[in-house]
């Protein structure tokens, strides 16, 4: 380590790479922390974890007994074992006994992205509540048509404060805190929506994954989704090939599924739909009968005809990378797929997952450098390299299945929670002091004299 510091002083390593080298080393040595512990007040499986986006200091957790708790990640409430183990108790908790508390399990608890004064919880009792952190009171309630599976707010929204809620109803609703009403209803999914995620590159784009296995991209400024991800549309490599004909995945009849863009797709979908109504006749006669019997569908609703699936099962988790270029999706077919957002294609990176939980939504997380994905796989948490798909670490510590992973990049710590009601901390093994001691020249202990 001293050598690295000297290299930075003399300019051989740039300061960014110096910092990244330490961070990567720490992340690759994650293990169950023996210095830090969260005392979990929950009496049901913990379904959601989020560290706040502004300071990275407060951890919000939501559990299946209808309770939500906030912990301070950096400052411990008390110490045990003569100061070696830091115990973090919750700062406050809101549960069923509370006046306006949720009556059933909380499935999702997220911070207001602008500051930690508000947080939003969504629950199986069909309600989405916005809470004031300082007074621990629910200030706004939204009643949803079904159980709320996931809620999300955009971390880069400059002009809206919309909460996207995915429920067991087929429509995704956007709730506005400022007005207290629903501002948008996005239709297109054919079954409940289990995962919702805002884009990290645009404040208007929302990604949703449904129980029908489809992943849809919505631009909330216009009607309908502008892309549906199809697992058979693939590209070999993490970036699409340049200067090549992009429509290579199959030869088409009437350019049915051309990848040339949404516009073309909508037109051909409409012609396909009307084509199914007049099946007989040769192709030339068909064209004229199509136009005469054209059923009018709003261009925004044409995407409902597109039945492409991204997974052979429910889409249980979605995570966009921080640079906004890739989307990771986890499905109940025990597959994790990496999608290129720009071209909308499956990059065919194979993540060696064994089995993933199928009935509940899971929360994935990513780290930027080294590019890793943290995935809860039944009772273990597996870490995969994002571009190669190989398993780097397997973290075993939970007694029951793990539901969420939350990575704190400022401290390089991973927080995971599961059905065993615990929130575990995984921190880099080995402290800085140990490293410094190792570098010193080993003394020859026999070399002493009086």
């Amino acid at each position: 380590m001293w050598k690295a510091i000297k290299d930075r002083e003399t300019g051989r390593i740039r300061s960014n790479s110096f910092a990244n080298r330490f961070k990567s080393g720490r992340i690759l040595s994650l293990q169950l922390s023996n210095r830090k512990d969260f005392v979990s007040p929950h009496r049901g499986s913990v379904n959601s974890l989020q560290v706040d986006l502004t300071e990275g200091r407060y951890l919000l957790s939501g559990a299946a007994d209808g309770s939500a708790a906030v912990f301070d990640v950096q400052r411990a409430t008390d110490y045990e074992a003569s100061g070696l183990i830091a115990k973090h108790k919750c700062i406050f908790t809101v549960d069923k006994q509370h006046d306006n508390g949720h009556k059933f399990a909380i499935s999702s608890a997220i911070w207001y992205p602008i500051d930690t004064g508000l947080f939003v919880t969504g629950s199986y009792d069909h309600y989405l509540k916005v809470w004031d952190t300082n007074t621990a009171q629910a200030v706004v309630d939204f009643k949803m048509p079904g159980k709320v599976y996931r809620t999300a707010m955009s971390s880069m929204a400059m002009s809206h404060t919309l909460i996207a809620a995915g429920t067991e109803d087929v429509q995704v609703r956007l709730c506005d805190i400022a007005s207290g009403a629903f501002s948008h209803t996005l239709s297109g999914h054919r079954d409940g929506v289990m995962s919702v995620e805002w884009s990290t590159s645009s404040e208007w784009v929302l990604y949703t994954g449904g129980c029908d296995g489809a992943i849809r991209f919505w631009d909330i400024r216009r009607a309908g989704c502008f892309r549906v991800l199809d697992q058979s549309q693939t590209q070999l490599g993490i970036r699409p090939p340049i200067l090549k004909r992009t429509a290579v995945s199959s030869k088409f009849y009437s350019a049915a599924k051309s990848s040339l863009g949404g516009q073309n797709r909508l037109k051909t979908l409409q012609s396909k739909h009307t084509g199914s109504q007049s099946v007989k006749g040769s192709s030339s006669a068909k064209a004229s009968t199509e136009k005469s019997r054209q059923k009018r569908i709003h261009p925004g609703m044409l995407s409902t005809l597109d039945r492409a699936t991204a997974h052979y099962g429910v889409v249980t988790g979605l995570k966009a990378t921080n640079d906004g270029m890739y989307l990771l999706s986890a499905g109940s077919d025990s597959r994790i797929r990496l999608w290129d957002i720009e071209s909308g294609r499956n990059t065919l990176v194979n993540f060696e997952t064994g089995r993933i939980q199928t009935n509940k939504a899971i929360q994935l997380d990513t780290s930027d450098d080294p590019a890793l994905v943290f995935v809860p796989c039944m009772k273990t948490v597996k870490t995969f390299g994002m571009w190669s798909g190989r398993t780097t670490l397997m973290l075993r510590g939970h007694y029951e299945s793990v539901n969420t992973c939350c990575f704190n990049s400022s401290d390089q710590e991973l927080y995971t929670s599961g059905a065993d009601r615990q929130i575990l901390v995984w921190s880099p093994g080995g402290s800085v002091e140990d490293e410094m001691v190792q570098d010193e020249v080993a003394e020859d202990k026999d070399n002493w004299s009086d």
Binding site: G213, S232, T234, L236, G237, V248, S249, S250, K251, F252, Y253, S254, A256, K272, G275, S276, V279, K280, S282, S283, R307, T309, Y312, D333, S334, R335, L348, V349, N350, E352, G354, R355, C377, M378, K379, T380, S388, G389, R390, M394
Partner: protein
């Protein structure tokens, strides 16, 4: 010399080590090379790992005379034989696009895909047509349209209803009876996922499909009954499965690739163990 005459028995040891496998791949190539002499060398000059693994496993497919199914390879078997899974997926995609192989989704409830060489599949379709001609069925031109238009342009494992109709009508007037004929022949099937989609299927796969499911369970229960849930690979190979016409090697490769079993190298050989996760 011994290797050349007995590729099957020596290939059984090959699945463990990459180095040995490369030798076996040469043998596998030479077998098929004799058949493929008509192809220009340019197309056949270099092989990808996946392509070689596919040819080798096709050569090892057990010969079952009652069921006339073409030899198929499961995708999980490929994962167990080539190290890098992403590379397998990408090379398989290339082979699929070049129409060397065809991928089918099997209705096992798990994410199983079967890979068949296109030549074998087309031979099978021809055999079905011949059998139906003998029974003096009518409307057999639908098979020609199927081969010519549908198989040629639709490379995915599934096809929507109206797309199927429009592709078949390129050949002539299509009736519902034609589609029924295709389903009866076993070339198309429906799965529970989506009521509107037809899935391409391997004809007369029923017996082998059942054997696949039962064989997997039997092999896993065999290992679970052991005290430490593990066994030497050499011993396991010699067992005979009662419920499956497919041999043990097929099932071992499949279970290792799908993650149910894992292999550990020890001083006395490879041990196969049930994986805990």
């Amino acid at each position: 010399m011994k290797k050349r005459t007995n590729p099957e028995s020596s290939a059984s040891k090959a699945k463990k080590r990459r180095r040995e496998e490369e030798d076996e791949e040469e043998v596998g190539c030479s077998h098929t090379a004799i058949e493929d002499q008509c192809l220009p060398l340019e197309d056949d000059l270099t092989f990808s790992d996946t392509c070689v693994a596919l040819r080798m496993m096709r050569a090892q497919f057990p010969r079952i005379d009652q069921a006339s199914t073409p030899p198929f390879i499961l995708q999980s078997q490929l994962y167990s034989s080539v190290n890098d899974r992403t590379q397998v997926d990408r090379e398989l995609e290339c082979l699929r696009r070049e129409k060397v192989v065809r991928v089918f989704k099997l209705n096992t409830g798990q994410d199983d895909h079967a890979i068949i060489f296109l030549d074998d599949y087309l031979n099978q379709v021809d055999r079905i047509v011949k059998r139906m001609e003998e029974k003096r069925q009518s409307d057999l031109e639908v098979f020609k349209w199927f081969k010519g238009h549908v198989l040629d342009s639709k490379l995915e494992p599934s096809i929507g209803h109206h797309e199927l109709f429009s592709l078949l009508s390129l050949g002539g007037k299509v009736k519902d009876a034609h589609i029924t004929l295709l389903i009866n022949a076993g070339l198309l099937t429906r799965q529970l996922i989506d009521p509107d989609m037809y899935w391409f299927a391997i004809p007369s796969i029923g017996k082998l499909w059942k054997g696949l499911l039962q064989g997997r369970n039997e092999l896993l229960s065999l290992l679970k009954r052991k005290r430490h849930k593990e066994m030497f690979l050499a011993e396991l190979e010699k067992k005979r499965l009662r419920f499956s016409p497919l041999d043990v090697r097929f099932h071992i490769r499949d279970l290792i690739g799908s993650g149910h079993l894992k292999t550990v190298q020890t001083t006395s050989g490879l041990i196969v163990r049930i994986s805990k996760d």
